[in-house]
């Protein structure tokens, strides 16, 4: 136990020094929007998705110890389990989220659902600590694209394939498609809402486009003789290549407009406040207020315009995205130049 106490004490000290990760709240637009839109039913979403997203993601202090170092420490199996279970609770964020979940779910959630939530949280930890090898499968079958950004777009697509945001959006899209096949008379407005939900599910990734590149990847961007806008354009191309097919069964033009706005607004955080991401987790973008809210609001506005009025509203969306690529492309150059 003395060994564990020493490790937890060191973790607490490391966490205390990294105040930013504790108090600058990480956010995932989909989780927050779902809770707001679904209200009472959102309690369940908040409890399940919120805990699964936030606990393992932004509040796991054990991530501060390199895995190779952790394996070297003379801890037995039982001690490692205790460390795994106790370490999240040295973070005040964990207590805050747990208190919020209990308050929101009070009297509404059965013991069984609590059990399910606990299971999902635990699986979030287990899944994220699994070493998933990029063997054959989808990773190698990414198509090639014309032009000098070919490999960068392929790499970015592979990165998106490693985020749970994509699979959440895919689930929504496929469910809607199945619903349409079974019950064709879906109300018209439902397409707008569902398209927005699909793009919102992806929107947090648009706030952390460089999150999975790692130190080596950022170092390579510095070495490549590419202007910053091309680096960003390769990121956006991969994002749109994922977002557009997912909105095809819904309202595709609306989806394109929302995706373009998600990128246009997300670039700022991606470039100016890069947040490292972890594979096989939901993306954590900026705190919902104000950046996430601005992103979702802009997406909702342009999606409504395109859906109800005219597809011509896609033009200002594309212009906003192009302008953002140019502007933040210059920021990337400055950022990379300053080391």
């Amino acid at each position: 136990m003395a060994r564990l106490a020493a490790i937890l004490k060191a973790l607490g000290r490391a966490l205390g020094r990294d105040q930013k990760s504790i108090w600058s709240l990480a956010g995932n637009n989909f989780f927050i929007v779902s809770a707001i839109v679904l209200q009472d039913a959102g309690t369940f979403i908040y409890l399940i998705i919120g805990l699964v997203i936030l606990l393992p993601l932004s509040t796991d202090p054990l991530r501060k110890i390199p895995a190779s170092r952790l394996r070297l420490w003379p801890l037995d199996r039982r001690e490692r389990w205790i460390l795994r279970a106790v370490s999240p609770w040295i973070n005040p964020m964990t207590w805050a989220i747990a208190a919020l979940a209990i308050w929101m779910a009070h009297g509404k959630v059965t013991v069984g659902l609590w059990g399910l939530a606990a299971g999902l949280v635990a699986s979030g930890f287990v899944l994220s600590s699994l070493k998933i090898t990029r063997g054959n499968g989808l990773w190698r079958r990414i198509p090639h694209f014309p032009g000098p950004l070919n490999q960068l777009i392929r790499k970015n697509l592979r990165a998106i394939l490693c985020t749970l945001d994509l699979y959440c959006a895919l689930l929504l899209s496929v469910s809607t498609l199945a619903f349409r096949i079974a019950l064709p008379a879906l109300p018209r407005e439902a397409f707008l809402v569902l398209t927005l939900l699909v793009t919102v599910a992806l929107s947090s990734y648009a706030q952390c486009l460089f999150g999975l590149d790692g130190k080596g990847g950022l170092s390579r961007y510095r070495l490549l003789p590419l202007p910053g806008w091309q680096v960003l354009a390769a990121k956006d191309a991969a994002f749109l290549l994922v977002a557009i097919p997912l909105t095809l069964p819904l309202a595709p033009l609306t989806g394109i407009g929302a995706a373009l706005m998600a990128l246009a607004i997300g670039h700022r955080n991606s470039v100016n406040a890069p947040r490292p991401q972890v594979r096989w987790r939901f993306s954590t973008g900026a705190a919902f207020l104000p950046r996430g809210l601005a992103q979702v609001a802009a997406m909702a506005v342009v999606a409504s315009w395109i859906f109800y009025y005219s597809a011509l509203f896609l033009i200002p969306c594309a212009a906003a995205c192009a302008g953002s690529i140019w502007w933040y492309g210059r920021s990337i150059e400055r950022m990379l130049k300053d080391g």
Binding site: W139, Q151, K155, R158, G214, G216, R220, L223, G339
Partner: protein
Amino acid sequence: MDILSRPAILCRNLTRRFGDFTAVDDMTFEVAAGAICAFLGPNGAGKSTTLKMLTGLLPPSSGEVEVCGLDAKSQPVELKRRIGVLPEDFGLFDDLTVGEHLSLIGDVYGLGKTLTRARTDQLLRVLNLEHGRDTFAGSCSHGMRKKTSLAMALLPNPEVLFLDEPFEAIDPVTSKIMRDLLQAIAGRGITVFFTSHVLSAVEQIATQLIMIRKGRVVWNTPAAEVPVALEQHYFDLVETPVAEDIEWLGSPRS
């Protein structure tokens, strides 16, 4: 100054400060085209910082840097087109295979598919990396990652090659392959500038030695002019090893 007599690397009064700390202090040196220049110094002496400034990755606080006749500060993109770099962290994307990394360089440097494929095949063969062509960088060994990064640096046929610790943490065969390769490319006029702590490798290939201590140049001559064995010279000039017995590790065995 004509192109043949112009030094490949020119540094004048180069200084880099991080707050109150001066990492590189008024450094001045030149490296001739086709030279293999070893840049030596203890950890934290300013080697990597200097390398970053020479490759346009870090702006100097003051002073001038010219590589291939280009100002590293005002012409960084053109400079990047003319140099190859093996960075300290290799600069690899976990989501690309070894072959795809080389294809990326071919695409970005506009080499064309045929030329990229031919050069990739040859580099992978020479570096004994053919077996790893389809391995994702995230799954590669340290040596494979280093060789991939070196192949990426060489693929566009650079005028100057910058290598940050190329001989560290690799097996003897890879080390020999790298040494032979660097000597061969220097023989074809490519300038090689590298940092290293492996003095045996430095002794074998370097034609110029620059030693630094606390951000300042303390020795800069052709390698042949080193008066004693390189290791002793390094100890004399740069840092003397501490000799202290650690008794609690046990008494010496006879």
